[in-house]
Symmetry: C2
Subunit: 123 residues, 2 copies
């Protein structure tokens, strides 16, 4: 049930524009227009991005006349951090213990290099 929100949170942050907006909102609240300003896209597109962030629970919006100030919700980050830490610890614990040892005893070459797959331009 939380799983669904976790999916939305990760999906929301998979977009560099949206991550950028989160960075901007970490500095302070901002209206949709203010958030749209630095980008070369329509306000409608930005509005959609904010909706995605809001649906993920990362952002809340309040009312100020026509304006809709956006506020970053820090608590949701904990949900992510918790998920990550669980498996990071689990994996790191395993690593350096007997797992890689056993692997070498089995004789397969561990850790094929995956780092040279693609080097796409940064956004």
């Amino acid at each position: 049930m939380d799983d669904d929100q976790l999916s939305r949170v990760f999906a929301a942050l998979a977009d560099p524009t949206r991550r950028d907006m989160v960075a901007r909102l970490a500095v302070g609240d901002a209206t949709v227009g203010e958030l749209a300003d630095p980008y070369d896209v329509s306000v409608q597109a930005v509005s959609k991005h904010i909706k995605v962030l809001a649906d993920a629970g990362l952002v809340s919006q309040s009312k100020d006349a026509q304006r809709r100030p956006c506020h970053l919700e820090a608590e949701v980050f904990d949900l992510m951090t918790k998920w990550i830490e669980r498996y990071r610890e689990q994996a790191q614990e395993r690593y350096g213990r007997l797992d890689s040892l056993l692997a070498e005893m089995r004789g397969d070459e561990r850790r094929t290099d995956h780092r040279n797959r693609q080097q796409g331009a940064a956004s």
Copy 2:
């Protein structure tokens, strides 16, 4: 430049099936077939999922005859954690300080409830 990988990592983890596989791999390495077993999809689909995880740098694959054992790469989690922590701290620091105070002085109702937007079935 790292931004691109960060996008891939978040996108990879946005899928519950892939998160599940990460959870499985945290316990120990597994072949594609072993990973595919619990799911009701074709092996090809699972192979694609693994490719996504590998492209994100979350998983590496080695060779063992026809088999392709998958191994969880814990280091990449740090990339994510770093990004998250940066903005979480920044936002939480702001929260409880003068920001929300000023907001109340401006008289707008902060924090519209976003939690009742949708309650989709868990995956």
